[in-house]
């Protein structure tokens, strides 16, 4: 055995002579890695922590050459995008509902449950089959029920979901698929594969804070993966893949803090930071101190001299920055445990300019009405919003009852795209472009009828109700400060997710609550009862018919009276002939 190995080694040795060893200096092709944690104390007393991990992989994927050597980019996702010719992939898993009214806008919005939207490259011929296969593969990668995505909950929005990366001209929505699973429960088994995609795993850097027992003990938890092509440089001559992993979490301090308004990294994540991920080119913690310029609201320790300003979601915010790649950040104890101590609890909340809500009205199990309310809180400016509503086929929308009312008057949408549902095939899709008048509430109502399902189509707990995914409201909201229009690498991650085309407004996406609708639910022993009942009815009818047909009827002598029969019995006992 060993002799043979030696022989092959010897023959390979001949090979080596013919090969010139090239020294490798591939710092440039490694791609680079940015890590970031933003902490924003919310006015409600909660803490919003937003992690973002960005990997940029400088490779020319559009020319169709197979790329199969992965360095920082995770292999599993790379294989998926190259096998299924994906141009853009956005997937999010969310537990809890983001309360826009109390918390403001999140950096990366997401609806409750799971959401997946994918732009395919225009070389894909059978988009539906590819989409089906892709959802199954992603379901395996993320340990989620994405395999329940089928044609009954897949949409092709015509306007709401435009590519976020470089578009390359194609925005033909035939190559777009969008699906939500509002019922998906997000837990540890989804977090573990998500952490595995990070180059440092959960071993070093910011990711050590991601302990599931703390993260899921929160009011809101959302994790997402976004893959898109981005420009390598300002001229945009070559492109590269960008993988963004985001994790947003809102901790409720009132319930966990024992009425003491104090917060620290250790309290929140049960860990402190000791180092940055050595693979990351930048690794920073930003703390939003905009409302706290003179430390009148809270006190931050250890203090940092670094302050940075960024324009994010139409507002200029000030952040204290902790750069984890600098040893000085960790101080003499070699560990960073950020602490915030509140001094006063006052503080006025800047109302978000746009928020929305949705609910169902009506009684009984036959009809109902969906109300979607959109609030424009800007005092003097109106702005356009794009509303996307997707309703499953078993709620039959009466589209003629669609009404859009703002300030008591009809508001005519300038664009409507409605695709009626087909039973058991596709959902309703309603997209509308609306102008929201300043300082107003716009109400969209539409009536629906509840369909009866086949008895195998009910979920295992049908009396819980059926979920209807969130409405999506995409909008260009007027900005109070000039937005940054050219995206550079130097910008912090949280302000560079949505590309910005003009200075006067910023893009925002708001999701409404998902709806829970009761459908008429049968008693599930019914089929057997029906079988038994019909069989009995048939058997009774058949029995009497059979008797009528086969029995012969004859007139019988009337029965002898009781006295006579008794007398006969006695006579028989005596041996006398009967009467």
């Amino acid at each position: 055995m060993a002799a043979h190995r030696c022989r092959y080694l010897a023959c390979l040795l001949l090979l080596f002579l013919s090969v010139i060893l090239v020294t490798m200096s591939q710092e440039t092709t490694l791609g680079h890695e940015q890590h970031e944690l933003v902490i924003r104390p919310l006015h409600s007393g909660d803490i919003y922590a937003s992690f973002q991990f960005r990997t940029v992989w400088e490779t020319d994927f559009m020319k169709g050459n197979k790329v199969s050597h992965y360095r920082l980019f995770p292999k599993s996702l790379g294989q998926v995008i190259s096998k299924f010719s994906v141009r853009e992939l956005h997937i999010s898993f969310t537990q809890g509902y983001w309360r826009t009214m109390q918390w403001g806008q999140p950096f990366i919005p997401s609806p409750p449950g799971a959401e997946l939207w994918v732009w395919f490259q225009d070389s894909v011929t059978d988009v539906d089959a590819t989409w089906k296969e892709l959802t199954n593969v992603l379901s395996g990668i993320f340990c989620a029920s994405l395999n329940f995505i089928d044609s009954t909950n897949t949409l092709q929005p015509s306007a709401s979901f435009k590519p976020l990366g470089i578009g390359n001209g194609t925005t033909d929505h035939r190559f777009l698929r969008y699906a939500t699973l509002p019922r998906e429960i997000v837990c540890t088994e989804n977090l573990t594969p998500w952490k595995k995609l990070l180059p440092c795993g959960s071993k070093a850097g910011l990711a050590v804070l991601l302990k599931s027992e703390k993260l899921f003990h929160s009011s809101f938890h959302s994790q997402s993966v976004h893959i898109r092509p981005v420009c390598q440089d300002r001229q945009c001559k070559s492109s590269s893949w960008e993988l963004r992993q985001a994790l947003n979490v809102v901790f409720d301090l009132h319930t966990s803090g024992q009425s003491k308004r104090e917060w620290s990294l250790f309290k929140m994540f049960s860990r402190t930071l000791t180092e940055a991920c050595p693979l990351a080119s930048s690794s920073k913690i930003y703390i939003d101190v905009t409302d706290n310029p003179q430390e009148e609201q809270f006190e931050l320790s250890p203090a940092t001299p670094l302050l940075s300003q960024a324009v994010v979601l139409g507002d200029r915010r000030t952040f204290s920055v902790y750069d984890l790649t600098q040893q000085v950040t960790f101080g003499t104890v070699r560990s960073l445990n950020l602490m915030i101590r509140w001094k006063s609890s006052e503080g006025d909340m800047l109302r978000p300019l746009l928020h929305a809500e949705r609910y169902v009205t009506g009684y009984g199990l036959q009809t109902g009405e969906i109300h979607t309310l959109m609030y424009n809180n800007h005092p003097f400016r109106s702005f356009p919003v794009l509303l996307l509503d997707s309703v499953p086929w078993y709620l039959r929308l009466y589209i003629h009852t669609l009404k859009v009312i703002s300030k008591g008057k009809d508001n005519n949408p300038s664009y409507i795209h409605y695709q009626p549902s087909k039973d058991r095939e596709r959902p309703h899709l309603l997209e509308m472009l609306l102008q929201l008048p300043p300082h107003s509430v716009t109400e969209v109502t539409v009536q629906f009828e509840r369909a009866l399902l086949k008895w195998t189509e009910y979920t295992p707990d049908p009396n819980h109700g059926f979920y209807v995914g969130s409405s999506v409201i995409s909008s260009l909201v007027p900005s109070t400060v000039a937005m940054e229009t050219n995206i550079t690498m130097e910008q912090p991650l949280f302000s560079s997710f949505f590309p910005c085309k003009e200075e006067s407004s910023y893009f925002a996406r708001v999701y409404t609550e998902p709806l829970l609708v009761n459908l008429p639910t049968p008693d599930f022993s019914m089929p057997y009862n029906v079988i038994c009942l019909t069989c009995t009815v048939v058997a009774v009818g058949y029995g009497s018919l059979y008797n009528l047909l086969t029995r012969s009827f004859q007139v019988e002598e009337p029965n002898p009276g009781l006295a006579k029969r008794i007398a006969n019995v006695i006579r028989r006992m005596r041996g006398v002939p009967p009467l």
Partner: protein, 505 residues
């Protein structure tokens, strides 16, 4: 009068009961039977039965070419002349009788006295045992074929050694995914660079191109940071090195495997090749075999899984080096080991040649033509055996469980698998290796598709008690009156018959 009317009435009643029974039997029962029947397409059961006692005939063409001067002029008239120079260069030493070249040629040497005064036929007869040996080395031998069949057919167990040999190689599959992973347990101590693209192009790709008739190969590579081995190597004070003993190698793979990630894009088996570069605090690291000797390549392989190589870099930098150290990995060294492991895992298991044989070193490709032939022989046989087992067990299953629906496409897959098996067997018999392999691949694909079709499971669970629960409410009240009236009629007929007999007497 009254009696007559009653009699005809009785007769009519009996006729009605009889006709109702007739309608139930002629229309009702077939209707019920047809509507509740599971659809079962026709399967070639008899051909499948023949497959189970399939006999394989393998044949290989042999061409014996005599070198110049071996034969007398009159003998050699119509024989071609080849390979005279090869002999001059390659064969030296008297004890080498047979030299096996890189292509499909072997050179035999016979002494002058043995060939004196013999006809071509006699010469061939003398050479026959040697030719047979050559054939066993270059195409197939009994052990190869048993190894190929070892998964399917139970032979009397051989030695443990031969068992491990036969278990090492991957089972036949239409494609393989090869993944090279560079494991860096601590990015703070080493910053590793490897030119995997170039190395794959130079070392692995020629080998795989040669193997391409056998299966499709795809190559991936990845870098994994903070990936640890599953065991803590012991520190040996005498040597100033860490030692990983052969006994603990079994525990190395599992924790690493969790990080490797499954291949999302295909369902082919994955061959993993891991290059582990221990961090500065834990190096150098050496692997020792069971005799406590260092393994020269510092690598090991795991059957049907892949290989791991430990690459020590401590001597590449001085003690005053600043961490993290930039390290360029010598891919030639690494790929030499991986290629050797790959050869073993693909199934290029060469039993040592018989005494007196000299095997030419493999060329730049790492694979001689006849080695590929050997693989193709054993793979064809293995494929045929696998497919036959699959089809026969499927047929057996379908035969035993009547509830399974057999759709047309499954029947079609089964028939095409059966035809491909027959074609493959015929091609093997004719010695057409390429076609045989092609057909055997087709039959594997078709049979697996049929076996794993989800439609087979649809009605599998339909217990009989539930059927009865549904049928009884209808069938019991309908059948009882019919049966009763039939019984009554039968007893009446018997009574009348007896009365008639009594009257006759």
């Amino acid at each position: 009068m009254y009696f007559l009317a009653s009699l005809s009435e009785r007769r009519r009643g009996q006729l009605a009961a009889l006709s109702i029974a007739a309608v139930v039997i002629v229309v009702g029962v077939p209707l019920w039977w047809r509507t509740t029947e599971t659809y079962r397409a026709w399967l070639p059961f008899s051909q499948i039965k023949d497959l189970s006692k399939l006999q394989l005939h393998l044949s290989a063409d042999v061409e014996v070419v005599f070198a110049r001067g071996t034969l007398t002029p009159e003998q050699q008239k119509k024989l071609p002349l080849t390979q005279t120079q090869d002999e001059e260069h390659a064969v030296d030493g008297d004890n080498v009788k047979v030299y096996i070249g890189q292509r499909r040629t072997a050179i035999l040497r016979i002494n002058a006295e043995m060939r004196a005064g013999k006809t071509v036929e006699q010469l061939l007869a003398v050479l026959k045992p040697q030719i047979k040996q050559v054939l066993q080395v270059m195409s197939f031998s009994h052990t190869d074929i048993t190894a190929a069949l070892s998964d399917r057919v139970r032979f009397n167990p051989g030695s443990k050694e031969s068992m491990t040999h036969s278990m090492r190689a991957f089972t036949s599959s239409p494609g393989y995914e090869i993944t090279f992973s560079l494991l860096n347990p601590d990015p703070r101590s080493h910053r590793l660079h490897w030119d995997i693209e170039g190395a794959v192009q130079t070392y692995i790709q020629p080998f795989l191109t040669k193997l391409s008739p056998l299966a499709n190969f795809s190559i991936d590579s990845q870098m994994l940071h903070y990936a640890m081995l599953g065991v803590n190597p012991r520190y040996n004070n005498d040597r100033g090195a860490f030692i990983l003993h052969a006994d603990s190698l079994a525990h190395v793979i599992n924790p690493v495997e969790a990080r490797l990630g499954s291949n999302a894009a295909s369902s082919n088996p994955v061959l993993n090749f891991l290059l582990y570069v221990p961090d500065a605090q834990h190096s150098p690291l050496y692997i020792q075999d069971h005799k406590k000797m260092d393994v020269p390549s510092n690598a090991f392989h795991s059957p049907r899984w892949g290989g791991i190589m430990v690459y020590n870099v401590k001597n590449l930098y001085g003690p005053e080096a600043e961490f993290p150290v930039n390290i360029n990995i010598n891919m030639a060294e690494v790929m030499g080991v991986f290629l050797t492991q790959l050869r073993l895992l693909v199934g290029m298991e060469s039993s040592p040649p018989p005494p007196g044989f000299l095997v030419a070193p493999c060329g730049s490709v790492g694979l001689a033509d006849w080695e590929l032939d050997r693989l193709m022989w054993s793979r064809s046989v293995e494929n045929i055996a696998t497919a036959t087992t699959t089809i026969t067990s499927l047929a057996q299953l379908l035969d035993q469980i009547g509830n399974i629906v057999i759709n047309d496409n499954i029947a079609q897959q089964v028939s095409s698998a059966v035809t491909s098996v027959q074609l493959a067997v015929a091609e093997l018999e004719a010695g057409n290796l390429g076609f045989a392999l092609q057909y055997s691949k087709e039959t594997i694909l078709a049979s697996e598709k049929a076996f794993f079709d989800p439609s087979l499971l649809h009605l599998l669970y339909f217990p009989d008690d539930q059927k009865f629960a549904i049928y009884i409410p209808l069938f019991l009240p309908m059948c009882v009156p019919i049966l009763l009236s039939l019984l009554k009629m039968a007893s009446e007929a018997r009574r009348r018959y007896r009365e008639k007999q009594a009257k006759k007497d």
